[in-house]
């Protein structure tokens, strides 16, 4: 009798432990394998576009104008930072600087192959000083207007 009860008791104990282990291991598996997250949307290639054009008399290591300004001294080197986004195999970024009635001061073009956010700087200087007056900078990307900035030079 007693040995039989012992066998039943052992059997129940083993069964209980087995069920508990099965539950534990099952629970653990479900913790280890969380629902697969939705795959991220494939990044879309963003078309190149100019965000902003700043002018100032100095730029930082990141090629951004450190203190945008609309007024310069005749002795200043004038910097323009063109902030852009988007990727392109080739963009001809041009800067056309004009004086008052449209007299061309300088034109320059840089061909870039941006892969994302970029800063492109243009700068001009005049050893004998800028004549006082109003100036305009027109930035174009592949020949299309992309931004402007106006500033004055005062003595």
């Amino acid at each position: 009798m007693f040995p039989h009860s012992l066998r039943i008791g052992s059997f129940v104990t083993v069964l209980t432990i087995g069920v508990a282990l099965t539950c534990l291991s099952g629970c653990k598996r479900s913790e280890d394998a969380p629902a697969a997250p939705a795959p991220p949307a494939a990044p879309q290639a963003q078309a190149f576009h100019v965000i902003r054009v700043d002018v100032g008399n100095a730029i930082g290591a990141d090629k951004k104008v450190t203190a945008p300004s609309a007024s310069f001294k005749p002795t200043d080197t004038i910097y323009a930072s063109v902030l852009s986004e988007g990727a392109s195999a080739k963009v001809d970024l041009s800067a056309r600087w004009t004086f008052e009635d449209g007299q061309v001061v300088n034109e320059a073009t840089q061909s870039i192959a941006p892969t994302g956010p970029a800063v492109t700087e243009f700068h001009i200087s005049k050893p004998d000083g800028w004549p006082a007056g109003k100036y305009k900078l027109e930035v174009a990307a592949n020949g299309k207007p992309a931004g402007t900035a106006e500033f004055t030079v005062t003595n």
Partner: protein, 91 residues
């Protein structure tokens, strides 16, 4: 009679620029002839432009061809450095 203001001279304006974006590769120049393969040479100790010219052209006095082809990296024709890679144009 109106007194016309003389236009300023912007002929001496200096300009420049740079970008955080890589430069776009230059467009290939359309040509009917197959482009010549670009030869390069890596400078070793004891080299001079005239020695390299003699090596490639058989004449040391053709060093100017190499100098002109490498003006972007060689500022002084008497100063080249071991390890420097020079473009060797066709003679």
């Amino acid at each position: 009679m109106p007194d016309e203001k003389p236009k300023p001279n912007f002929g001496n304006v200096k300009s420049g620029g740079s970008s955080t974006a890589p430069a776009a590769p230059a467009s290939p120049t359309p040509t009917s002839a197959a482009p010549a393969a670009t030869r390069t040479y890596t400078v070793v100790a004891g080299d001079s432009l005239s020695k390299i010219a003699k090596k490639f052209y058989g004449e040391g006095n053709k060093w100017k061809l190499i100098f002109e082809a490498n003006r972007d990296t060689v500022k002084n024709p008497d100063l080249i450095h071991p390890g420097q890679v020079l473009k060797i144009p066709e003679a």
